[in-house]
Symmetry: C2
């Protein structure tokens, strides 16, 4: 069962917050770790919206996984796409035909976006999970202004200058705040024919209020701040259709050429690999030890896992939760290896944060609630602190200071095609 050197083989799928933390936590263990990801970098997803809105470069929020583990000799990094898990033979099967044997498996493959059964919306409403998603959204947003500049027809011009963000969670709020600032501050003097500050940014939330994970007063503060900046907030109606030219919200058709999907998420297909039924969002149910009920050597953590928290609620799909689970899975494996009893996972909720454009944020730490500029400083400090790699901290801080002082966003590159979907 163990590897050539007699060490237990730990395979970790996914180099997100959960997988990375688990591998890190095992750095002193006498094990042989293989960390598999389909990308060669760890992505700091909480700042991905700043790539999509041209404040940061992709490299600012991504670190090559190999260089993170270059000095952790018990860990090999493998670039590969998981296709299946053979639980009987204890093998991870990769898309290129390779098999990776394991004694313990940690699945931390995260979640993608889901269109609630409307996958035909995907070409018109990209989500925001990967770097390529972010550069695609950046391309579309910037192109919309470029096309509007030369569009003679007023109706078409208005559609080009209408940006709809579907989903009123933190990502949606952050995107809406960033796009309205791009339009009203950064771009306003760049164009000759259009008034970019006349752009409409519409944030659509099917529920009764945006940021439902926050307290009602913070959610109301965020809504008021966004409205003051010029964002239109439409709550209580779901999006019923999206095509190249129009978003339909409830019954109302809104002509809009740029749509960003920040609504549903769906867990990676870990359930399928493991042959178990996932919940509605595809998450795999695990024991309080984060292992499969019928296999204590297979752990599922992070956004891929459905873990009970309190009052029937699940642990939320946020980075701190994934990190806690990564640490727990590592500890559980160490316990098992030394024949001690596996510990039980207990989620400690630290709180929720969201920014509302430059200079304002809300923080809900339960007892400690903050809003406005001070909250924004705390938000910035927290994000820079948790950015992996000193280099990235340095660059992100420099970028922020620069764009704060100059009101210019430097990464306004349209890469790839210069056509919008038709």
């Amino acid at each position: 069962m163990p590897d050539a050197a007699g060490l237990p083989r730990i395979v970790i799928l996914g180099a997100g917050f959960g997988g990375l933390t688990a591998a890190r936590a095992l750095r002193k263990a006498a094990v042989s770790i293989t960390l598999i990801d389909r990308q060669n970098y760890h992505l700091f997803q909480p700042l991905l919206y700043q790539v999509a809105t041209a404040t940061l470069s992709p490299a600012d929020i991504a670190v090559p996984v190999r260089s993170t583990f270059r000095d952790q000799k018990n860990t090999s990094v493998l670039l590969g796409t998981v296709e299946d898990v053979d639980r009987q033979a204890r093998l991870v099967k990769l898309a290129d035909g390779r098999d990776v044997p394991f004694d313990y498996l940690i699945i931390a493959t995260g979640a993608g976006h889901a269109y609630f059964g409307h996958d035909e919306w995907a070409p018109y409403a990209p989500g925001l999970k990967k770097i390529d998603d972010a550069t695609e959204i950046r391309r579309r947003v910037l192109l919309a202004f470029e096309k509007a500049e030369t569009e003679p027809d007023p109706a078409r011009r208005a559609a080009l200058l209408t940006f709809v963000i579907v989903g009123g969670g933190p990502t949606g709020v952050e995107m809406a705040g960033a796009i309205i600032e791009l339009a009203c501050k950064t771009l306003v003097r760049d164009f000759r024919r259009i008034d970019t500050s006349a752009a409409r940014v519409i944030l659509v939330e099917a529920g009764q209020r945006i940021l439902p994970a926050f307290s009602e007063d913070l959610s109301a503060f965020a809504a008021a701040s966004l409205r003051k900046k010029g964002v239109e907030i439409l709550c209580g109606n779901p999006v019923t259709n999206i095509d190249a030219m129009t978003v339909t919200i409830g019954e109302e058709a809104v002509p809009a050429r740029t749509v960003v999907w920040a609504a549903g998420v769906k867990a990676s297909p870990a359930g399928k690999w493991l042959g178990v039924e996932g919940d509605r969002a595809g998450r795999v149910a695990v024991t309080p030890r984060l292992a499969l009920p019928d296999d204590e050597r297979i752990f599922v953590i992070g956004d891929t896992a459905a873990v009970e928290w309190t009052e029937g609620r699940l642990v939320p799909g946020i980075a701190p939760a994934a990190k806690q689970m990564g640490n727990h899975a590592a500890r559980a494996i160490c316990s098992a290896l030394s024949c001690r009893e596996m510990p039980t996972f207990r989620y400690r909720h630290q709180g929720n944060l969201a920014t509302i454009g430059r200079q304002s944020a809300i923080i809900d730490f339960g007892r400690l609630r903050m809003k406005g500029f001070l909250a924004w400083l705390v938000w910035g400090a927290a994000h820079i602190y948790f950015l992996i790699g000193f280099r990235n901290r340095l660059f992100v801080m420099t970028h922020w200071v620069w764009s704060y002082l100059t009101l210019r966003q430097g990464v306004r590159l349209i890469t790839g095609s210069t056509d919008l979907p038709e």
Copy 2:
């Protein structure tokens, strides 16, 4: 003929060094300028190889054209692809059907790469002219190491670790130096199974020596420096075939999965638009005033123009030459508008520069020749100085200092697909 406000209409095609300089030089002129480019940014091409080799991010060497001209009120920036020029009607015809009328036209659309009649090599040997080229090369180079790490077959692994650069000019030399350093310094501790420093980097030059634009001793110094770093230099034989697995140099077939094309260039199709015959490299012959022989209102500058220099040689296709021509075209138009005689263009050759990896460069300023570390400092200072935009200077310098101190290249992201061409 003039625009609505009675101002002469100057249309500039291309926001490279030539076009940008021309527009800038006309900033105080009572004219109406339209600057058209198919990208929304000006690209500092001399540092593009550093994007391809993961030292810089695309945004570090690109500035949005609009923001460059936001305060120059006589200039409008237009994102568009030129399809044709109607000389009779004095219209530039864009691919999306728009027509842009002009009184004076400056064509500064640069050059692309050419495969000497072997366009079938293009998928296997990307050139280095655009940002998307650079991120594609970065992707392939980094992926080759990743695939080699898991390739069990020694011959295939060797092919994955063989990098062929075709063309021994400054770009080829810079790419070869940067890739060997990536392999021997940056990546060497990142991998567990392969020895990245065993990678072969082969620089192929059909002529008798690399860097033919430099003096023989500097060229020999560069060759010796590259060899010392581990680069194999093959002179005197052209590449006769390229496919997904093999590069054939003269008669010899070299198994190699990564090929970079730094050889032929071909001017943009300005000749076709204008209905004139270009030279072998597609360049348009112009008068000593840089205008068309039969139309003094149409200028062709930069890499698109064939301009006599000395002893039958043409002005070289480098940034300083394009800038001088841009300045000249602007001056010529001002002269014509005030009914003075148009000046004659005289190229002042400032010299040639090339880096040979970190810490070494060669400089050939005619009388002043330098090589080694001091030359590298001059090269770095010159490049940072000429980078457009203070922000970019700041970031490029920070990146360089960082990667110099740490030997790490931070931008090692594989974006897009994780497959190599088959």
